[in-house]
Amino acid sequence: MAENQEPRIGVFICHCGTNIAGSLDVNAVMEYARSLPNVVVADEYQYMCSTPGQNKIIDAEKDYDLTGVVVAACSPRLHEPTFRTATAEGGLNKFRFEMANIRDQNSWVHMHDWEGATEKAKDQVRIAVAKARLLEDLQPKSVPVEHAAMVVGAGVGGMQAALDLANAGIKTYLVEKDPTIGGRMSQLDKTFPTLDCSQCILTPKMVDAGRHPNIILETYTEVENVEGYIGNFDITLRKKARGTRDGAEMVAAGLEGSGCNGCGDCASVCPVIKPNPFEMGMAPRKAIYIYHPQVMPLQYTIDFDACVKCGLCKDICGTEKNAIDLEMTDSLEKVKVGCVILATGYDLIPIEDKTEWGYRRYENVITGLEFERLICASGPTGGHLIRPSDGETPMKVGFVLCAGSRDNTGGVGKPYCSRFCCMYSLKHAHQIMEKIPGAVPYLFYMDIRSFGKMYEEFYYRIQNEGAKFIRGRVAAIEEDPITKNLYVQTEDTLLGRPVNVECNLVVLAAAIQPKPDAERIRQMFGVSKSQDGWYLEAHPKLNPCGTTTAGIFLAGVCQGPKDIPDTVAQAEGAASAASIPIHQGEVQLEPYFAQCVEDLCAGCGMCVPQCPYGALSLIQKDDRQVMTVTEAKCKGCGTCGGFCPGGAIRMQHFTSPQICAQIDSFLLNPLGGEE
């Protein structure tokens, strides 16, 4: 297309079935479009996104020698890529396309206002044409992608994602803040609905992740700082002072000795006793500790907040191993990766804040996670389920489902379904009937949501084994101060009668929430969150592993409640998505970045701190300072462009003349915006 040629615009109105055509007059909008300046062709079609619809664009570009294409249809989120491709196929630069959103922003919201919606569609088309007249050719930039990835959080989700990436030949940093990988799944006894021993199916994965030549395990490590953009993330890790070194670290530090081999001699002499968080505080650990025997890596860690630096451990560890360093401090490490997967998991809500259920007030009210440890053969009681108050075996156990889930009351209540509590409560019911002959579980539920493969069958089985199901949400729990038995009050809504069940132990299926640290991680990586604080996927249906920040992906519960099968499936999806740009070796960036018009730039540098993404800097050029944009970092937000006092910043695809033309055309009365 020749320079300075008079613009020639084609307009295409989509019916979207009755989505648009059912609420406004498509033909009237088309006729109106024909009357607009520079519009040389206007057409309409049932489904513009279909092949015949797209062919209309391609043909018109040739037949009418178009310089710009406008489609009035659904939304750019859905079909901008489709129509851009069609525009390019017709021979134009793909950025010479503009969309008028007459469905999502018009027919759907003004469904019962035929006249009004038709007029609004005319406005929208007129505005789009005004911009289309000023569109110009743009070229996407491509940047190289580092052949490495990072996974943050090493629960089952993070481990799976790291293993997939590593098996695809990608060097992967697996960063875990705790001293061992494994996450919540290693705290579980058995897993529904197959009742596999959780640790048994998890340890092989932990070992694989620990031994994989492409996985660099960074345990007891946190993300300190993130810079860069897709393909080129520069991440600073804080390796927390562990107090011990393994063999490799000994060599790296140039020290004599074979390093920690996990013998545990140190812990046997350590005089300081603390609760073990892995056992939900129900078992002790020393100041120098491991969580459990299957930890990966098998290396002891010193809790420096508790350690009194008596040196006993160092003495017994001996000079041959020389593993302990009581003066160790945190160290920082910088790594460069192309993509990142977040898999930071979840916590239980502080269920004690629902005072009516008495958690932490009544000894025999426990949470599901505490139950997992108490029923687990390697747990604090060797797998004997006992009441915390007196060590007796409970014969009637109440399970309170939806403890804080599906609850709109704010504060501690969570409006969403935590998705695995029904199933693990069924599992818990089975476990007590199996381990304690004659024990009766009472499940207080609102609905049993057994939606997965073989889940409903599992429900059937537990019902058949003798579990009692009472349909009613628990209103309150009261304790008999002498027997420490608990009275669970609810309405049996199916009978329509209040019930008051005396139980020896009550297990709360507490709702889950994001980790306290999730907010900090999210902000560092520039990921959005949903209302409840879970990480927000790019699209709930069509892009459930991606985020709106290119190169950052999500796996597991950090994105929203899910059980192990769903976590693993999403992790595999995230790993696959993350490996695409890495294997391609380069990514294309939308050319929406800011440009410095150097003739106008005064080099004042005032824009530099305005950019939220750190994309701007001053450089020396021909004896003077001018601003420059790191295009790969710029997200095209326009903060700088709106700010620059000299008007030296030009926003590609959203230039001031383009925006002024849109405003003028909306007001129908051109105000004569500056060119």
């Binding site: 009516e356 939806c402 599906r406 609850d407 709109n408 009351t409 704010g410 209540g413 609102m446 349909r471 009613g472 949400r473 628990v474 209103a475 309150a476 009050q489 609810t490 309405e491 049996d492 809504t493 329509g496 209040p498 008051n500």
Partner: protein, 193 residues
């Protein structure tokens, strides 16, 4: 509406009565009015039963607050307003404190009581309470047993209410008259004689 069979035998008729719920039993305006008067989202009730489970009235009576919530959802006006259980709520607000849907069931009951009153459906003892308040300023006026007990505790024989300040009864009466409460109570009681 229940289907009439008509066998010409009232006893058989009542035993074979159609107990289906038909959508025509519902009056949508009822749900709307309850919502409007109560200022709470009764139509969002998902029947978890927390309210009944919390209710001090429920274990000792046939009163199930959850059922009234259901009637509000479905617009079962006659069923709700003619049920004598409507008057068994103590307005303690336990249910409202705990409802996970953040509904105020107590206020739903209050709204239904107002609607029942519009149709003159009020238990006699409630109406008699109105009369007592009108005449004495008290729902439960002081009596000699009480007075003796108060004296024993070192309190004045009468509390510092209209019992001690009868001149304020007139004010209370003004308020009650404004709502035609006494007038209506008298009328309904008289009609029931």
């Amino acid at each position: 509406m229940a289907v009439e069979k008509n066998y010409g035998n009232p006893e058989l008729e009542s035993r074979l009565k159609d107990t289906n719920y038909y959508t025509s039993d519902s009056n949508k305006d009822f749900s709307d009015r309850v919502r409007e008067l109560s200022g709470t989202i009764s139509h969002m009730c998902f029947q978890c039963g927390t309210c009944t489970g919390s209710c001090p009235s429920a274990p000792r009576s046939s009163y199930r607050i959850r059922k009234f919530m259901r009637r509000a959802v479905l617009g079962l006006e006659d069923e709700a307003l003619t049920d004598p259980d409507l008057w068994l709520c103590t307005t303690c607000y336990s249910c409202s404190d705990r409802c996970p849907r953040d509904i105020l069931p107590t206020d739903v009951i209050m709204a239904m009581r107002n609607l029942a009153f519009e149709r003159d459906i009020v238990p006699r003892n409630f109406l008699k309470t109105v009369q007592l308040i009108y005449n004495t300023g008290h729902g439960v006026p002081n009596n000699d047993v009480n007075r003796a007990a108060r004296e024993k505790l070192g309190l004045p024989r009468d509390p510092p209410t209209t019992h001690s300040y009868p001149e304020y009864i007139e004010g209370i009466q003004k308020i009650i008259d404004h709502y035609h409460l006494k007038e209506n109570a008298d009328r309904i009681l008289a009609e029931g004689e």
